[in-house]
């Protein structure tokens, strides 16, 4: 009897942990979305694209970086603001992944993290993460 109770308790605990893991997984999942989708959602998402030429400006006082992403497939654009130190060689980026959420009040994408791919002679490309 005692043993059966222990087994049931163990199974319940495992179930609880599985549920906890799955909900954490769903909350933590940041999906890749298109720019129009990013504008509609409040949750954390990631967007990718190229850097629009001459679109980036950096304000050292507030340490905020403002730039425009261009979707190479659709030519849609998205204005992105990132708070933090400007990534090295940022102007040379061939592709940028921005992780964050859309800020409706300022009408721009507020990125908390950037993945910047720079052209490199080494295998693939050099990617650096900034957060």
């Amino acid at each position: 009897m005692k043993r059966r109770i222990a087994y049931i308790a163990g199974a319940l605990l495992l179930l609880a942990f599985a549920g906890f893991s799955l909900t954490s997984f769903q909350t933590a999942l940041t999906p890749y979305v298109s720019y129009p989708e990013a504008r509609e959602q409040a949750r954390t998402v990631q967007v990718a694209g190229g850097l629009a030429r001459d679109s980036s400006s950096y304000d050292a006082e507030s340490s905020s970086l403002l730039f425009t992403l261009v979707d190479p497939a659709t030519q849609q654009t998205l204005r992105v603001r990132y708070h933090g130190v400007k990534p090295a060689n940022f102007e040379d980026a061939i592709s940028i992944v921005a992780i964050g959420s859309y800020d409706r009040s300022r009408d721009e994408f507020a990125a908390g993290k950037l993945l910047v791919k720079c052209p490199s002679k080494y295998q693939g490309a050099e990617v650096k993460t900034y957060s």
Partner: protein, 753 residues
């Protein structure tokens, strides 16, 4: 024949020979399985030739790298003339092809002692093991590292500057020893199923499982230490897919070790251990697939491109998955399982619970790492960040620490009850409470964190007492488990302190002006130019709250070849914390004394009038720059200036030197009466010169600025210290289990003979 002529034959032939010998060995072992006794000898001999051929192929690549033979594409792609010898050799594992070759090399070497260690099961063990080797070999024959270029370049592309670090020289090869070792317990398990002999494999596989655990763990430690010391983002673990790809087999390996322990001591887990040994090996293949196939290209900092081997890796995984699944499905039920079940409040139950907890951790980490793959077919693929891993592993860490603090007090037989257990655990509990009481004034308020401190300190204390007790009774050789678990308690404290309680601040320092960061005062003194021995560095003076000071030298430099901006942090370790100073950005400022003059133009700055009279190309006559400071082919140009101060005129000639390697230097020249001037640039078309004036009063301009990330990492030494204890305990256990396996073979030989 063009395929043949595009290969460097000494290496390619060695690989083909390896393929031939491995097939021959496989044939021999297969015949031996069918009962042909002489074929066993043939298989064994062919295996040794296979190992020799793989060694030769590796030696050829190493020699080609050493000789900088750029005919070979791989040598060209990953090395260069400017590399020091040890980095040149490290280029061996800088690319994917070389990595697979290192993996195969270690695998072939590990197989040599395995021939002996597999004893009576040599044929099925070596047969399975050869199949794992053959998988790697086929990838290498297809993605041949000995492909040659049509023309021979004069210099290679060079090694990724991030990898030019001593830790990176040894981290990957050690990692691949661990990967290679993962195939050994798997081979033992498959052989046991094949032979329907389930009583021996656990004893034989145990030391190998411990060996793999130790080696892979050491490699993970080195990778973490490299990330902490070199990359400058302030951490040692980022839950990146590539890191996880090595962590997942390590956790499965840890579970396997506990399973084998239970099987050896209590005869439990006999079926599960076969599954676990398979999982360790399959997780190595799966991790390789995730990181080498390009499926994670948009999600990982280590962006490996698709080499076109994803199909091979998938086929390899499917082959071993289906093969082992078939054997397990048909034969697992035959394995007799222990009839006696553990009493509830006993050591057995607690070890089982801990094993399940670790298994759960391995599964959720696999789930998280696979997120891009799992969501690939949904509308929007996505990934999970570090928060996910930290969150789901927290309850596991709590449970593991709880179990570890009680396990040493439990016996295999039923313990009388919770009351008695609590009485036995009173000192453990007191230690944990004391730990939590110390943590509160240090700023730990979160109830879960306090609970973790309590349980981790309790686990540390209980296992330390148990280890000390054993050692006092002369049982050092069996104290491995306790020592490892002391390490687990220590490392949990280190993880918590260094990740949840680090304090970080970004600060921009103006040159010469002290700034307050927390209780530190930082002053950026100067930019230290590159010397032969060291890269460009920043000199920052740090004054701590107690008035003690030191100079920090974080590095910030542009790699000559790739033009990448590289940042290396400066780390100062104190007994209770690390001060981690990482450079973010350097702005040299606008030197106010910069003027551009054409011939006969005059500029006035800081009370001095400068007139540019003309170029002086006959600079050999000047003593201003010693001729020895550059090779004779360097070109030197001087600008003849007339400098007028307070009515008195003087002539000075600052020089500008181009080196053939593209570097320029322009040493400042003293101006009589104070200050200096340097010729910082020449525009040949307009005949203009750029001059830098310094040391004069009231020059306009902006000062140099340095942006830093200053982080306090409390108790990070506990992370490294805990890992050392885990490895020490693992080594003790490894020696113990190795001896047991040897004795087991002797007993068997005596019984059989």
């Amino acid at each position: 024949m063009s395929y043949l002529s595009s290969l460097y034959l000494p290496g390619a032939v060695a690989l083909w020979c390896a393929l031939g010998f491995s097939l021959a060995a496989l044939w021999g072992y297969a015949r031996a399985l069918g009962g042909d006794g002489t074929a066993l000898l043939f298989g064994r001999r062919a295996y040794r030739f296979f190992a020799l051929a793989v060694t030769l192929a590796s030696a050829v690549l190493l020699v080609c790298l050493y000789l900088r033979d750029y005919r070979i594409e791989y040598v060209y792609q990953y090395s260069g003339n400017d590399l020091a010898t040890h980095f040149q050799l490290a280029a061996f594992w800088a690319g994917q092809k070389g990595s697979f070759l290192v993996w195969l090399f270690w695998g072939a070497l590990l197989g040599l002692p395995l021939v002996r260690a597999s004893g009576r099961d040599e044929a099925p063990v070596m047969g399975t093991y050869l199949l794992t080797q053959l998988g790697l070999l086929l990838i290498l024959v297809r993605e041949n590292p000995f492909v040659m270029l049509a023309q021979t370049p004069a210099d290679g592309v060079g090694l990724n500057p991030l990898l030019q670090d001593n830790w990176m020289v040894i981290h990957p090869p050690i990692m691949f020893i661990g990967y290679a070792a993962a195939a050994v317990p798997f081979s033992f398990a498959m052989a046991a199923l094949w032979r329907r002999d389930y009583g021996n494999w656990a004893t034989r596989a145990f030391p190998w499982a411990l060996f793999g655990f130790l080696v892979l763990g050491t490699a993970i430690l080195m990778g973490g230490y490299w990330a902490y010391k070199t990359l400058g983002w302030g951490g040692y673990w980022g839950w990146d897919p590539v890191e996880n790809a090595s962590l997942i087999p390590w956790i499965f390996g840890t579970v396997l070790i506990h399973g084998l322990y239970l099987e050896r001591t209590k005869g439990r887990f006999r079926r599960l251990n076969v599954v676990l040994a398979t999982l360790v090996f399959l997780s190595v293949l799966y991790g390789t697939f995730l990181t080498r196939s390009g499926v994670l290209a948009d999600f990982s900092v280590h962006s490996f491109v698709d080499l076109g081997i994803s199909g091979w890796l998938v086929a390899l995984m499917l082959f071993f998955f289906l093969g082992s699944a078939y054997l397990m499905a048909t034969r697992l039920r035959e394995i007799p399982s222990a009839p006696s079940e553990d009493p509830l409040l006993s050591r057995g139950t607690f070890v089982v619970l801990g094993t399940i907890a670790l298994l759960a951790s391995a599964i959720v980490v696999t789930l998280g790492t696979s997120a891009p793959l799992l969501t690939r077919f949904m509308e929007n693929p996505g990934q999970v960040g570090p928060e996910f891993y930290n969150r789901v592993n927290m309850p596991i860490a709590l449970l593991v620490a709880f179990l570890l603090s009680l396990v040493p007090l439990l016996s295999w037989r039923e313990t009388a009850g919770w009351g008695q257990l609590l009485r036995k655990a009173r000192w453990t509990l007191a230690a944990g409470l004391a730990g939590a009481a110390v943590a509160v004034p240090l700023g730990v308020r979160d109830p879960f964190h306090l609970l973790l401190v309590l349980l981790a300190v309790a686990a540390l204390a209980a296992n330390l007492a148990a280890a000390a007790g054993l050692v006092r009774r002369g049982g050092l050789r069996t104290a491995g488990g306790y020592v490892t678990h002391v390490g687990v308690g220590v490392i949990l404290l280190g993880f918590l302190a260094s990740s949840a309680y680090d304090e970080s601040a970004k600060v921009t320092l103006e040159r010469g002006r002290p700034a307050q960061v927390g209780d530190l005062t930082l002053t950026f003194h100067r930019f230290v130019p590159r010397t032969a021995a060291a890269k460009e560095r920043m000199e920052v003076e740090v004054v701590r709250a107690d008035g003690r000071r030191y100079l920090a030298y974080p590095k910030l430099f542009v790699n000559d070849r790739s033009q990448q901006l590289m940042a290396n942090p400066h780390i100062r370790s104190f007994p209770l914390l690390d001060l981690y100073i990482s450079p973010l950005e350097y702005d040299p400022g606008e030197p106010g004394g910069r003027v551009i003059l054409t011939r006969d133009q005059v500029a006035e700055r800081g009370g001095v009038a400068v007139r540019f009279l003309g170029f002086d190309l006959d600079t050999g006559a000047h003593g201003a720059m010693p001729a020895a400071s550059g090779p004779p082919t360097a070109m030197t140009v001087g600008a003849v200036l007339e400098i007028t101060r307070a009515g008195r005129s003087e002539r000075v000639t600052p020089l500008f030197r181009f080196s053939p390697d593209g570097r320029t230097e322009f040493p400042p020249v003293e101006i009589p009466g104070g200050g200096s001037v340097a010729l910082s640039g020449i525009d040949a078309e307009s005949g203009a010169v750029e001059l830098l004036l310094a040391g004069l009063p009231e020059l306009p301009g902006t000062p140099a600025r340095l942006s830093l990330d200053v982080t306090r990492k409390p108790l990070i030494q506990l992370v490294w210290g805990g890992l050392y204890l885990i490895f020490l305990g693992g080594t003790l256990a490894g020696i113990h289990r190795f001896r047991q396996a040897l004795r087991h073979d002797e007993v068997q030989a005596a019984a059989g003979g």
